[in-house]
């Protein structure tokens, strides 16, 4: 039992920090620009594929730097030449643009790298057990992922709170027109945030593509979860995104190992359910099988009872 709890906690932390790398950019972009970027997870996928490709040419370490920069540059171009020109038509046009972009990126990846997953292995230097936990190996790569995501978290925090550009970003989260009227180039800040958010998603892709899988469906797999994170955390709240990332990762990870059903739960109280009735299949579903839907259930409940999310400041 202790082994299950410890390993689930470790896996939750790794997955949660990966989710935060994606959701931090998405929530900043949404809060500042009002754009719900459906293509955000596509930048994560591009990060993984760019990381894979560059790794085959010059190795993993240059790829870890170059791929996020490329993805960030691409994100900045998308903002400058796509979203900015659509801004005057309102948020629906921007939303539809990002939906279209999602499919363009997915199909482009299919065309270039094929429909099957690519072999994106753990770099040899990180492919060893770093220590044993209750007799089981903990891989160095997992610790490396944790280190990178923690570093990104600390870096993002320092940039936002200790630098002038961070102050401008924080101010523009609430009154972009006010920041503009003080003489700061807010459109350029938008481009920087969109590019930066995309670069973070790209970085998550470079390391997450190895940990999970690098395939054309990876954006569609992780994208909805990232939306759940920012809704649960509260739209526009970085702290909320951080808490929700860890929470949802924990819910999913812990659920996988719990082999109990509603029948077992009722039995604890001495109740017996009808094993032949209309709901017989529902009583027998084990919690481990519901893992993938739990985050969405959580989101629906959150929207019903606390629409502004855990730490959000607005209702809509």
């Amino acid at each position: 039992m202790l082994e299950y709890v410890l390993f689930s906690l470790l896996n939750s932390l790794v997955l949660g920090m990966l989710l935060f790398m994606l959701s931090s950019g998405l929530t900043l972009i949404f809060s500042m620009m009002g754009v719900l970027n459906f293509a955000h997870a596509s930048f994560y996928m591009l990060g993984a594929y760019f990381g894979y490709q560059i790794s085959t040419w010059v190795g993993f370490w240059p790829a870890l730097v170059i791929a996020p920069l490329l993805v960030g540059g691409l994100g900045a171009l998308v903002e400058r030449y796509g979203l900015r020109s659509l801004h005057k038509y309102g948020h629906v046009a921007e939303l539809l643009f990002t939906v279209g972009l999602f499919y363009i990126i997915e199909e482009s990846v299919n065309l270039i790298w094929g429909r099957n997953a690519v072999m994106y292995p753990i770099p040899k230097i990180l492919d060893f057990p770093v220590f044993k936990l209750l007799g089981a190996d903990v891989s160095a790569y997992r610790m490396f992922m944790l280190l990178i995501s923690m570093g990104m978290f600390v870096g993002l925090y320092l940039v936002l709170t200790r630098t002038r550009i961070g102050l401008i970003i924080q101010a523009a989260l609430t009154h972009p027109e006010g920041v503009n009227a003080l003489g700061h180039n807010v459109p350029a800040v938008f481009m920087l945030v969109f590019g930066g958010g995309s670069a973070l998603a790209g970085l998550a892709g470079v390391i997450g593509g190895i940990f999970l899988i690098t395939e054309p469906a990876m954006a569609a797999t992780l994208g909805p979860i990232v939306f759940v994170v920012i809704v649960v955390g509260g739209m526009g709240s970085l702290t909320g995104a951080f808490v929700a990332s860890l929470l949802l990762a924990a819910i999913q990870t812990f659920a996988v190992g719990i082999e109990y059903s509603l029948t077992d739960l009722f039995a604890l109280f001495g109740w017996r359910v009808d094993a032949t009735g209309f709901f017989r299949d529902i009583w027998r579903i084990q919690l481990s099988h519901t893992g993938p839907i739990l985050p969405y259930l959580f989101m629906v409940l959150m929207l019903m009872f606390r629409p502004k999310g855990l730490m959000g400041k607005r209702e809509s």
Partner: protein, 231 residues
């Protein structure tokens, strides 16, 4: 310093400004009066580039119409909005620092100046902007704009919702601003403060200027006051 000619502005299909003409000279305090909804705030927003302008806005002889808001600000025009736009997650000090267009900008106003004029802001320098009182917010938003060292400043409804003592302080500050050679366009509803500190006044009605004169002209013209100012 500033000359606005035939300025028009629209919100969607609504024609808000319908040919505004006004002038402000160097170091002059000019008030823009009128009832709610006549376009006084929109005039400021349009000069600032926050609402697309149609017409001419000459500042120091240079055309401002068509420039982005940050470019207008960098030319030396400051704007204190009615809504104050205090950044709630930043401290009082950080709000002031953001008023500077560059880090360590040297201008006519320093943070020490601000804290000397308003010791209360100094005492609360590390408090978040969202947690200070309405009067303190008003002082902060004016001072934040001053940190950008503008030569011309538009102040929209600075005394709205303030206690009488605070209103006097705001009036004194505006006179101090003009005393340092900065031109002021003051948008006000309170006739008393506008008459006391302005050199000239404009009255707006239906999206255009309907009267121009001195405080004495308005004091002596009951018809104008009744028709365009009194509710």
């Amino acid at each position: 310093m500033l000359e606005v000619k035939e300025l028009h502005a629209y919100y969607g299909r609504s024609h808000i400004l319908q040919g505004v003409n006004l002038k402000v000279a160097r170091g002059e305090i000019v008030s823009l009066l009128g009832r709610n909804g006549v376009g006084r705030s929109t005039t400021c927003m349009t000069i600032m580039g926050l609402v697309p302008p149609h017409g001419s806005i000459l500042y120091k002889g240079e055309e401002m119409a068509g420039l982005k808001p940050h470019q207008v600000a960098r030319k030396g025009i400051g704007f204190v909005p009615e809504d104050r736009w205090i950044f709630p997650g930043l401290t009082v000090l950080q709000n002031l620092q953001l008023g500077q267009k560059r880090k360590k900008q040297a201008g006519r106003w320093t943070i020490d100046d601000v804290f000397k004029i308003f010791p209360r802001l100094g005492e609360r320098s590390n408090v978040h902007g969202g947690l200070i009182s309405g009067g303190e917010k008003q002082m902060l938003t004016i001072c934040r704009t001053l940190m950008g060292d503008p030569d011309f400043i538009m102040i929209d409804e600075p005394t709205e919702g303030l206690a009488p003592q605070m209103v006097k302080q705001v009036g004194d500050l505006i006179e101090e601003i003009a005393g340092r050679g900065i031109s002021v366009l003051l948008v006000e509803q309170k006739l008393s403060i506008a008459l006391k500190i302005s050199k000239r006044l404009y009255i707006m009605g239906h999206g255009k200027i309907v009267f121009e004169g001195t405080p004495n002209d308005i004091k002596n013209d009951q018809t104008i006051r009744k028709e365009w100012l009194e509710v």
